[in-house]
Subunit: 395 residues, 2 copies
Amino acid sequence: MISSKMQGLVDNNSVIRQMFEEGLKMAEQFGKENVYDFSLGNPNVPAPQKVRTTIERLLREEDPTDLHGYMSNAGFPSVRKKIADSLNRRFDTDFKEDNILMTVGAAGGLNCALKALLDPGDEVITFAPFFLEYKNYVANYDGKLIAIKPDTKTFQPDIDELERAVTKKTKAVIINNPNNPTGVIYTEETIKRIAHVLYKKQEEYKTTIFIISDEPYRELVYTGASVPYITKYYKNTIVGYSFSKTLSLPGERIGYLVLPDEAEDYERLFQALTIANRILGFVNAPSLMQKVVAECIDEKADIGYYSKNRDLLYDALKEYGYECIRPEGAFYMFIKSPVEDEKDFVAKAKEHHILLVPGSSFMCPGYVRLAYCVSYETCLNSLPGFKKLAEELEI
Amino acid sequence: MISSKMQGLVDNNSVIRQMFEEGLKMAEQFGKENVYDFSLGNPNVPAPQKVRTTIERLLREEDPTDLHGYMSNAGFPSVRKKIADSLNRRFDTDFKEDNILMTVGAAGGLNCALKALLDPGDEVITFAPFFLEYKNYVANYDGKLIAIKPDTKTFQPDIDELERAVTKKTKAVIINNPNNPTGVIYTEETIKRIAHVLYKKQEEYKTTIFIISDEPYRELVYTGASVPYITKYYKNTIVGYSFSKTLSLPGERIGYLVLPDEAEDYERLFQALTIANRILGFVNAPSLMQKVVAECIDEKADIGYYSKNRDLLYDALKEYGYECIRPEGAFYMFIKSPVEDEKDFVAKAKEHHILLVPGSSFMCPGYVRLAYCVSYETCLNSLPGFKKLAEELEI
């Protein structure tokens, strides 16, 4: 009776979300402080104080019918202008309000982009490991997600494989920078090489190939690192952004898409994105939060907080004998499973009340993801468990 | 380059939304007070004061990582419980939190319902006149919307036509009660007859047919009228609700779905709805607003405000010679076009700075919709224009 597309999904619900629900139950059973739930990218850093004071000020100063009312499906023009200005200041770009579409988080934005672009059977390429929801998002529009195998040395995209994977049917390439689940930043060199391949393939096939760059972690980068702004390297780009991580507002569902003027058929595509926002049922990004993020555009979550967690965990886990990648951005660490099937490792870790996500949930078996957007105490208190686990597994 | 499904939509953008954008431009040009924009269901009544005080209290009392954080995709359990309790109190139902799924407005909810139910080629029946977005929502999942012609005497659904329209492929029937654009309430008798036909057809075809009841205007009913609670008449029902109109929060995108225990395969279907909420990119209904509506569940917008507008406009328009239906609910009035093509009437009205929506946008040509969720002054000041228009058209 349920649609056939949904049958499989119901049978095989998201592992990450299941762990989240399980984590809540375990917290109830054993006490929140005795469960080390590293399963979800739900920031533990509170939203900056300015979020609260801005909401309070908006409630005092603005007419509630404007503050909570409909606006253009693309979002409040003043909000879009402020976001464009902020990007221009920080990345030396040249966006106007008409390059910005306010969305229901990055997930909402990606769905609008795929709805606007994909015909049934179109191919979308991405690089493993990747956020497995991409597969569902692409399937929503009857596209086919092609995953390129991970280069487990650097966890940079494998550009030679990309070149082989692009076909006449390739409509888009999704990249996620900084990367979930590895914490790796795709370098400028990588971006340039991707752009080069796609320009060549567009020419060869006389097609249009979009890069959809999913960048919710753009501001979460550690010392010295920086994330190239992709529109400067490739014209046919849609950038998806979310304030979930930077402002610790994941439940509020607020983000935006950027479509540069240089993109092919820009005007019609921007309209298509706006219509997609409407007909997919988002209608518009939540109105109060649009105004909040516009005022808090220069705020960001406390990077030091995540950095401290990263250093603690990385150093300890290395000491215990685990192999892991030192994250440069985001708040994830990708750990090589000490046993062949990483699901066994995840199960063993759970015995120590440590919740991790198997790499197969990111199309990268043999690894596990640890989300360290939790309290320092959680990280600290999890260490004896990690140590015992290492001993048990004799690594 | 844009997907073929979207091409037509870009060429032929929503008339209602276009008028909204045009209204904004006209307001800039002629002054807001000189444009009588009756085109959009954007409530002019401010949200109840309690919305503001609740937000302020939540900001003071709740941990921001909870208030703005992720929760289960179905929504905060405590919020869902409060909504279930409120429904039980008011409609003598027996819902629990697991019958309630928090959604990004009613539009988000309807999309989840259709995603969960439809296979390509499945048919969804609705009754004209209807909110034309239903067509896009059904098309999102490759379903086919079958529109039953309006009974322009009563604007109640034509049940004999329904009986003829149901086929083996019928997966759902969408009703909208109170109705946009007519302001008519489907009576208990109508609901019983719809249920009767569908029970019979389910039996005959050995299929499952859902009623999807879109009820954002449930609380907006005038003296004496009441809206039957549909789950009491038919088991396979999904109710979609939004706080957009009742609490004047249309921009905030907050609503819910109700799926009763009695629905076939309830457990799997509820899971499918929850997963649809996730993979369509909503992820969850905006978190702060979930908590706000749970606290404001017994508040409602000032019905007297709309009632005053209705009486003023209805009486005046009748006096000028227009034929219209006296609304019993919602804040729309459906006016018979005095000229054959109602688009000509809409164009003429615009010359008097009156913005109306053609009935063809609701699959009911020959009529226009007037949304009177505007200020009393707007209604009052539009009257000379309506009068002149009647004279010009010699009605």
